[in-house]
Each structure stands twice: as structure tokens, then as C-alpha cells.
């Protein structure tokens, strides 16, 4: 336990976490510091491209191992199933309406790719290898949770209509396409391709991540300030309990399908993280009655910082002690 805390403490003083903290503090202090939307989007494209590409190169180097299909399936099942657990917890812990609870649940079944990226870079810092195809698992986990949430609402009779276009939009969502596309480019061009562009996608990666997390901190901080009083204690409790529950399930599933230590940690992180880009946009279309400030504040304002600072080192430490890795 004390080892876990030491690890978490160590993690907290890395430039990326401190950059996030700086953004959070600046926003809470009402500084006018902002990163232009276009630049933030540019950085997220860079990060997705780099992480996908490197995952592809790793697969091309180590080969496709047997657990690939199992991992993708596991991701699919987790993304479908976690919202149901989240929904049940929300109904017990909070007074949220049926629709709001379903919308929040969708976010927790889906994933936050930035949390995943931060996890990857912590693993790299500790020289722990992970299966390259975990980025494909991340892509697979983005959308199914939304279907579960819509089913939860439809079941209750309130007329959530499944917009025929929405499914296609979700599957061809920019982040998924970029992540999967660059994964294939990496897999096809391999180490040689990586050599061409590693000065772009490998060396400056951590630095870009710092500025990106600075922006995430600013956004999360502004969100928190604007939604002061929207959330009860139950909801905040949920946003911390749920990632712990999900990570535990991710741990079990990861061990079951035989992932490496790094792969297990990444699956825990994917399970524990909550979406704040793709799912909110989808919810505005499919469940406009749900209140955006509830689900955004929980996923971006509470769960994201929690995972980034305490969650990731905790999941790593737990996975290490459980697998003896």
C-alpha cells in the first residue's frame, strides 16, 4: 500500500501531470490562459496518429499473438457491459433521472483516449512493454457503450430514437478512423516506416502531451467552475468508485485472456476511463433531454483527473502485485 502511494507520488511530479495541474489551477483562478481550439485539435490528431502508428509498428515487430482476437472481443463486451453496472450504481448512489443516469453510464462504458495515452507513457517510462494492438482495443471500446445506454432508455419506454445515421457516425468518428488508420499504417510500414518519422512521432511526444494536458486541465477546470453545485456528493462518489470497479473488472478480464502486465494495465485504464468527446457529442444527438453538464462534469471534471493522477499508478501497482510482474 505504501509502495502504491509512493509510486503515485512519484507519478504526480512528472511534467505531464504538473502541466495538467497547472491548467486546472489556472482555470480555477480564472486566468484567461487558453489554448486555441485549432491547436488543441491539432495536438489531439498528432497524439492519436502517433499512438496508433506506434501500436501498429509494435504489432508488426512482435507479430499478432493469439490473444488479439480475445482482446478485441473483451473490449467489445466490456464496453457493452460496463454501462449496465454504471447505471445500476448511479440508480443506487444518486438521484439522477433515468435518462441522465443512462447518459452518464454511456460515458463510463466508453473510453478516454488521452487517459490511455498518458498510461502508455507511464508504462514507457517504466520500460514495461504492452501489446501494440491495445490501441485497436481502445478503438473497439469507443462506441458500443452508447448502444447500451440507448437500450437502457428505450427499455424504460421514453422514446429515445436510434438515429439511423448515428451508428455510422459513431463507427467512423474521426478519432476511431485516425487511430485505426494509423495503426494499419504502422503495421504495414513497420520499423522502416517508424524510422522515417520517429523524430516526429516519438521524440517530441511527451512534450506535446504536456501542452495537451495543460489544455485538458484548463477545460476541466472551467467545466468544474461552471458546474459548481450541479453535482451531489453521490455523483462525485460514483465518478471515483466507478473507475475502481471497472479497473478491477478489466484486471480480471486481462488476466483471463492472458495479456502481458502492460496489456493488463492498459485494459484496466481503458475500462476505468470515461469518454468526454465522442460520447457527449453522440448524447446531444440521441439523448438531448440528458443534461450535458452532469455527464461532462463527472467524466471530465472528476474521473479524468482522478485517473490521470491517482488511478494510473494505482492500477499499475495493483496489476504488478497481482501478477507478480
Amino acid at each position: 500500500m505504501s509502495e502504491i502511494l509512493a509510486l503515485a507520488g512519484e507519478n504526480l511530479i512528472s511534467p505531464i501531470i504538473l502541466s495538467f495541474a497547472l491548467g486546472l489551477a489556472a482555470a480555477l483562478a480564472r486566468s484567461d490562459l487558453t489554448i486555441p481550439e485549432a491547436v488543441a485539435k491539432g495536438m489531439s490528431i498528432y497524439l492519436l496518429f502517433a499512438i496508433g502508428f506506434k501500436g501498429g509498428v509494435a504489432v508488426s515487430a512482435h507479430g499478432i499473438d493469439q490473444t488479439l482476437i480475445l482482446s478485441l472481443l473483451a473490449g467489445l463486451v466490456l464496453s457493452f457491459a460496463l454501462p449496465l453496472i454504471a447505471f445500476a450504481l448511479l440508480r443506487v448512489m444518486t438521484g439522477l433521472s433515468h435518462v441522465d443516469a443512462a447518459a452518464v453510464a454511456a460515458h463510463y462504458g466508453s473510453i478516454s483516449i488521452v487517459t490511455f495515452v498518458a498510461g502508455t507513457s507511464v508504462l514507457e517510462g517504466k520500460m514495461i512493454d504492452a501489446e501494440g494492438y491495445m490501441v485497436a482495443v481502445a478503438a473497439v471500446m469507443e462506441a458500443p457503450a452508447i448502444l447500451s445506454a440507448l437500450w437502457l432508455v428505450a427499455r424504460s419506454g421514453s422514446g429515445a430514437k436510434m438515429d439511423p445515421d448515428l451508428i455510422r457516425e459513431l463507427m467512423l468518428n474521426g478519432s476511431i478512423v485516425l487511430l485505426v488508420g494509423s495503426f494499419f499504417i504502422g503495421a504495414i510500414t513497420g520499423e522502416e516506416g517508424l524510422a522515417d518519422i520517429s523524430a516526429f512521432i516519438v521524440s517530441p511526444f511527451q512534450g506535446v502531451l504536456c501542452l495537451f494536458l495543460l489544455d485538458m486541465g484548463l477545460i476541466a477546470g472551467r467545466g468544474l467552475r461552471q458546474s459548481k453545485g450541479v453535482l451531489g456528493l453521490g455523483a462525485v462518489g460514483f465518478a471515483i468508485l466507478m473507475p475502481l470497479v471497472s479497473a478491477t473488472i478489466g484486471l480480471g478480464v486481462g488476466m483471463l485472456i492472458g495479456l502481458s502486465l502492460g496489456g493488463i494495465v492498459l485494459l484496466m485504464i481503458l475500462s476505468a476511463s470515461a469518454s468526454y468527446i465522442a460520447v457527449p457529442a453522440a448524447m446531444r444527438v440521441a439523448l438531448p433531454e440528458a443534461n450535458p453538464s452532469i455527464y461532462l462534469t463527472l467524466s471530465l471534471g472528476v474521473t479524468f483527473p482522478f485517473n490521470l493522477t491517482l488511478g494510473i499508478p494505482l492500477y499499475l501497482a495493483v496489476a504488478q502485485s497481482v501478477t507478480g510482474g
Binding site: 487558453t34 481550439e37 488543441a40 438515429d163 445515421d165 485538458m216 484548463l218 477545460i219 472551467r222 467545466g223 461552471q226 468526454y276 468527446i277 465522442a278 457527449p280 457529442a281 453522440a282 446531444r284 444527438v285 438531448p288 433531454e289 450535458p292 453538464s293 471530465l300
Partner: protein, 102 residues
């Protein structure tokens, strides 16, 4: 210079619904419109600003110039999309040059 009577309709709507709105307009045979970016705003659902957003969120403003007799068709089409959502619709009297164009 000769001008023609028209209605100017301005619809402020959430960005994720933009395509659905323009599709509905096109279906109602409203094929002239201009889309403007929005930096922020305030309404019944609170204040927001582009700076505090991630991803595809935010709003846009869709402006249509239309013959007065076709206004109702446009409003019906727009309303189906805007209905349950955040946003506002306003209408102004206007004149346009080159009526053949709209």
C-alpha cells in the same frame, strides 16, 4: 437597384446537429443557407464558450434567406430538428438583390 422581399431566418443550434439541420432544410427544398461559427453564448441552459469545449461541441448559426411564402415550410423543417434541443430561431424581414438566386 431592384430588390425583392424575403425573410431572413437565423437558427442557432448545437454543432453536432448541424448536418441534421441542413439535411432537413435540403429535404424541404431550402437550398440556400450560410453557416457562421459561434464563439459562445448564454441561454436557458446556461453560459458556454468555445474555450471551455472539447471535441465537436459548441454551436453554429445558420442563416437562410427565403421567399416569404416558403417561410412556413422552412420553420416546420427546422423545428423538427431544433425541437428538443438547445438553440433559438429568429426571423427578420429583409430585401434581397438578385431574386433569381434564392
Amino acid at each position: 437597384m431592384e430588390t425583392h422581399t424575403a425573410k431572413r431566418v437565423e437558427i442557432v443550434i448545437e454543432a453536432p446537429l448541424e448536418r441534421r439541420l441542413t439535411d432537413a432544410l435540403t429535404e424541404a427544398e431550402v437550398t440556400g443557407f450560410t453557416i457562421l461559427p459561434v464563439l459562445g453564448g448564454s441561454g436557458r441552459s446556461g453560459k458556454w464558450s468555445r474555450e471551455g469545449q472539447v471535441g465537436r461541441s459548441g454551436m453554429v448559426s445558420v442563416v437562410c434567406l427565403i421567399k416569404p411564402e416558403r417561410l412556413d415550410g422552412l420553420l416546420d423543417a427546422a423545428f423538427t430538428v431544433v425541437e428538443k434541443h438547445i438553440g433559438v430561431v429568429s426571423i427578420t424581414d429583409a430585401q434581397v438583390l438578385r431574386a433569381e438566386r434564392f
